[in-house]
């Protein structure tokens, strides 16, 4: 049976269609559902919840904040049960911002606790769309098992600089899943690290590895045709992003 994926939609969500498409390509059965309906429904019929990119509620107050607040106050109990039942959650870009601001990630003291990490305005103070190279930890998270150590994906955000409260960085160091590097796989400054993130962090998981948040957009690199340089290189037919979705599917097939 294909795992069912709930792709969350709220006012201002805008990567829901391509995220659903990526899950479909990976062998899942995605469904795009509006937040008001999610609050009313039984979410345990899904195996995966995806929070896609976008500018939920205009990113007013700060990126993802209003949806994070809504989830915390309207969906907390259901989500806690969902997490408890060995399900998966992925937050991409705005979805990552939501997970962080709702206190779900990094989840080192439990979920929906006080926010201890944040994603803030890029050092360039601008929205930037660019392709980045990422060093991947293939051990900790369910989503990255078996992924080669260096991949490329696009980022597109204005608030993606990962920062933590004092003392937190050390506690999450084993849960860092994606780090910005240069084309040789080494840590490097701007523009390789596009936003000024601490320790070049692009994505983290919770201690179980089943909740993942990342700023880059894996759903935008499913086919080689989506790579900016597919006309100059011989690339494999599927893009680096697809494996992340396939891993989610595989988790429920084993």
């Amino acid at each position: 049976m294909k795992p069912k994926v709930l792709v969350l939609r709220a006012a201002g969500t805008n990567c829901d269609i391509e995220t659903a498409f990526a899950f479909e390509k990976a062998g899942a059965e995605p469904e795009r559902v509006y937040i008001d309906e999610i609050i009313r429904m039984d979410i345990l019929k899904y195996q995966v919840i995806a929070l896609p990119g976008g500018f939920t509620y205009g990113d007013d107050i700060s990126a993802g904040k209003i949806l994070a607040n809504e989830i915390k106050y309207k969906l907390q109990d259901k989500l806690l049960k969902f997490i408890e039942k060995d399900r998966l959650i992925i937050g991409i870009c705005n979805g990552f911002q939501v997970l962080v601001k709702a206190g779900i990630l990094p989840g080192i003291n439990g979920y929906f606790k006080k926010q201890c990490v944040s994603l803030i305005t890029n050092d360039s103070e601008r929205f930037e769309d660019r392709w980045v190279f990422l060093k991947v930890d293939a051990e900790h998270s369910v989503f990255t098992r078996g992924i080669k150590s260096l991949i490329t994906l696009p980022v597109a955000h204005a608030e993606g600089k990962f920062v933590t409260e004092n003392g937190v960085l050390d506690k999450i160091k084993n849960y860092i899943v994606f780090q910005y590097v240069n084309d040789k796989g080494e840590p490097a400054g701007y523009p390789f690290n596009p936003n000024g993130s601490m320790m070049n962090i692009a994505g983290i998981a919770d201690p179980t590895g089943r909740i993942l948040g990342l700023m880059p957009h894996p759903e935008r690199f499913i086919s080689y045709l989506q790579h900016p340089n597919h006309t100059r290189k011989n690339l494999p037919e599927s893009g680096d992003g697809l494996l992340i979705f396939k891993n989610a599917v595989r988790y429920f097939k084993i």
């Binding site: 939609r9 006012a11 201002g12 969500t13 805008n14 990567c15 269609i17 391509e18 498409f21 990526a22 509006y34 008001d36 990119g53 976008g54 500018f55 509620y57 205009g58 990113d59 007013d60 107050i61 700060s62 904040k65 209003i66 607040n69 809504e70 106050y73 309207k74 601001k101 006080k114 926010q115 201890c116 990490v117 944040s118 803030i120 305005t121 890029n122 050092d123 103070e125 601008r126 929205f127 930037e128 769309d129 660019r130 392709w131 696009p154 597109a156 920062v163 933590t164 409260e165 957009h217 759903e219 935008r220 499913i222 045709l225 989506q226 900016p228 340089n229 597919h230 006309t231 100059r232």
Partner: protein, 935 residues
Amino acid sequence: MEYRIEIIKKDDPRGRFIVEDFKTFGIEGIERVEVRDVYYLGGELSKHQVEFIASELLHDPVIEDYRIGDGEKTKDAFEVLYNPGVTDPKEDSVKKALGDLGIEVSYVKTGTYYRFQGEFNISELNRAAGLFLYNPLVQYIRSPEHLVHQPAAYTSGIRHIDLNEDLMKISQDMGLSLSRLEMEVIKEYFQKKGRKPSDVELETIAQTWSEHCRHKTFLGRIQFNGEQIDNLLKQTIMKATAEINHPLCLSVFHDNSGIIAFDDEYGICFKVETHNHPSALEPYGGAATGIGGVIRDILGTGLGARPIMNTDVFCFGPVDFDYRKLPEGILHPKTIVKGVIQGVRDYGNRMGIPTSSGAVYFDSSFLYNPLVFCGCLGLIRRDRIEKRVRPKDAVLLVGGRTGRDGIHGVTFASAELSEGAEKSCVQIGNPIVEKRLMDCLLVVTEKGLLDSVTDCGGGGLSSAVGEMGKECGVRVELDKVPLKYQGLSPREIWISESQERMILAVPGENLKEVIEIFKREGVEATRIGEFTDDKRLRLYYNGEEVCDLDMDFLHNGLPKPWRKARPRKIEVKDIDIPKPIEFNSLLLNIVSQPNCSSREWVIRQYDHEVQGTSVVKPLVGEGFIGPQDAVVIRPRLDKDQGVAVSCGINPAYGRLDPYNMALSVIDEALRNLVAVGGDIEKAAILDNFCFSSPEREEVLGDIVLSTKACYDAATAFRVPFISGKDSLYNEWTDNKGNVYMIPATLLISAVGIIDDVRDCITLDFKAENSNIYLIGDTAGEMGGSEYYRLLGIDGGVVPTVDLKKAPEIMRRLHRAVKQGLILSCHDLSEGGLGLGLSEMAISGGIGAEIDLSSINYQGKNLRFDYILFSESNTRFLLEVSDDNAESLESLFEGLPCTKIGKTIRDGYLRVYYKKRKLVDLPLLLIKQKWLKKVV
């Protein structure tokens, strides 16, 4: 009660950039700027609640602190707030979030608090702040100790106008922009009716007859050089489309955008609009609502289309213009550039539509009147193209609420900008409202529940409803329209240009379901009237009839006077200038010119990859910096057909020779399309004319000449026009009465269907030791070139297009791409061969050597500078492997196709003339100059 909460960032990057901005406006001595977001909440809240809101919702505990209470009383600080009546874009979402916390407030206002440290003159600081930190049209500054003002109450009511008084005075006083002749016709109409018109009726007629809605110039009668033109558009551009009779065309010129066939199930629609005057006054809001408006044009095409790409083209004044010489009432180009780009960025990105194609052009003549073109493409089901309103259909208003914003945008577009021009037309957009509206509308479209849909753009309800009910008749109850705040008169409700609204014609049996679909996602949908069969426009306000006009008079009553046009003298002689000796520095100079340098600083700010459809991106190659001629998307993720989009614009040519300018920009748009693998046999184009006042005979002459060129070029290439728009009166009058006009400007946007996106090619050099070919003829047509601009030369012969050869070159090039003969391809435009070759090399990280003596130069005297920087049309540079060189040459037999050099192993660009070395530069140096950031 009102509560004030201040959010204090521990380290705010905004401050750093503001210090830099002040420096560019001559304010030295500011060491530090602290920026704080401020929220004002209205309502009855307990101290504990305010504390809870600040700590739980408004501040980020990782990086921010907060403070409750008045701002610190210091003279080195001020706050920027929205003017009363201007929509605060954050109010709705903050209210919603408070609701999730179980707290209700009566209003939310947001602002920004700035505190300055250092040694500076405070009044100088305040003056400079007005240049870029806030815009007095929508915002005001105050020191922190006073309270926010509430919107003042306005008087509502209806007025009747006596047309026996001075007609021109009435037109001017009411801001109608109607001519004496038009006013006379209106007077006669009401004399026959035996009554005085209401202000609503006069406004309705003014909106409907405005230049913006009726295109009086382009559809009007013109006497030109002894020729009688009854309808300029029909006799040129539309005639070309009719003659070509292209099988791809599904809907041209009559809906909100033009539609061509994509595949058996879907069509592609495309529309480009201008938003020049609003952007001149309030760059951020003007540009944002420009893109918001054109997206609604796509949503309002047929029974609704899904927006799939935005395009943007801007013409600005020079960013290094001395701010001390800036005339009163003019914003600095740097402020305009930043504001416009941020406006398009924030709106487009939030809508989730990739902004992928465009251009930025700098010329001193746009200092007083910048041009902002916003375009949008959509994907439409072919069985959703036909729309028809039926009597008894409900008039359903969906989306945002109506306020006093943007009143008179349309009639304002028919007047020149001047100091003290009416400024109530300024609008602020809220993309999230439009995003919600879009999401719901597309569900309704898919289900087939509508008879018709259109957007509320210029002229507001008056244009949208009036146009929709044109064939049958309509009645509207204006008091049903949901308002942002009370106190709008019926006239204001009817003509307000508040954003994010659309009108749907819904059959009675579907009304409940449609309203429910919108309601489910928090979008207001209100039945405000019904379509009728009496062919009249009737409006009511609380039961009182405030307008009763015959549709026939409203839509066909506009008088069509004859206007005179004459051609202006065209420069035919080329100019004699000394030959340069040193070419290295010349090339470096050219690549760093504002119209030649990289556009990465703009493109990166747009999300050009959302929706996952982009296949040929605007930036490609080594380091992802190569500037693509055209972009390609795959609107259906599971299919390999694509849509290529490009444009052409050249106001420098327009200043000298409008006919050849128009030919050139059509050629440019099409060659950009072909350079990526497009096929002119599967392409269509759009026109956007921007001119100054057509009441000048020479300007009207320019318009006639450029439309004639459109006909000549479209029929030669057999590429139809499918949609177009004009924006006139682009000029500015200073307080001494001096008029500054823009040059004749035509933007051509091109769209092409790509059978298989896997065949597409890009501009970046792919390999060492490939052959470099130049396709097309190079002539010494240097008028309007970037080379002449660099030398400060105004004049010369503008490039023309060989209309026999050009289509053939493009068809053969397409064949070569299809056969896989070409590794990379770039068209030559501004900066000519010198810039084109540099860009291919930089983008591929591969050097090149060429020999100019191999080029068959058509100019009179042999000049290396002209060969390198001529902008002759229909030229391409190709990279071809040894294996394919022969096939390429035979494919191009009989056409200009010359091997001019090789790509090389070294990272150098070398240009020879036989043995003489003219250019020898490392790519890194060229790249560094070319990557110059403009703002």
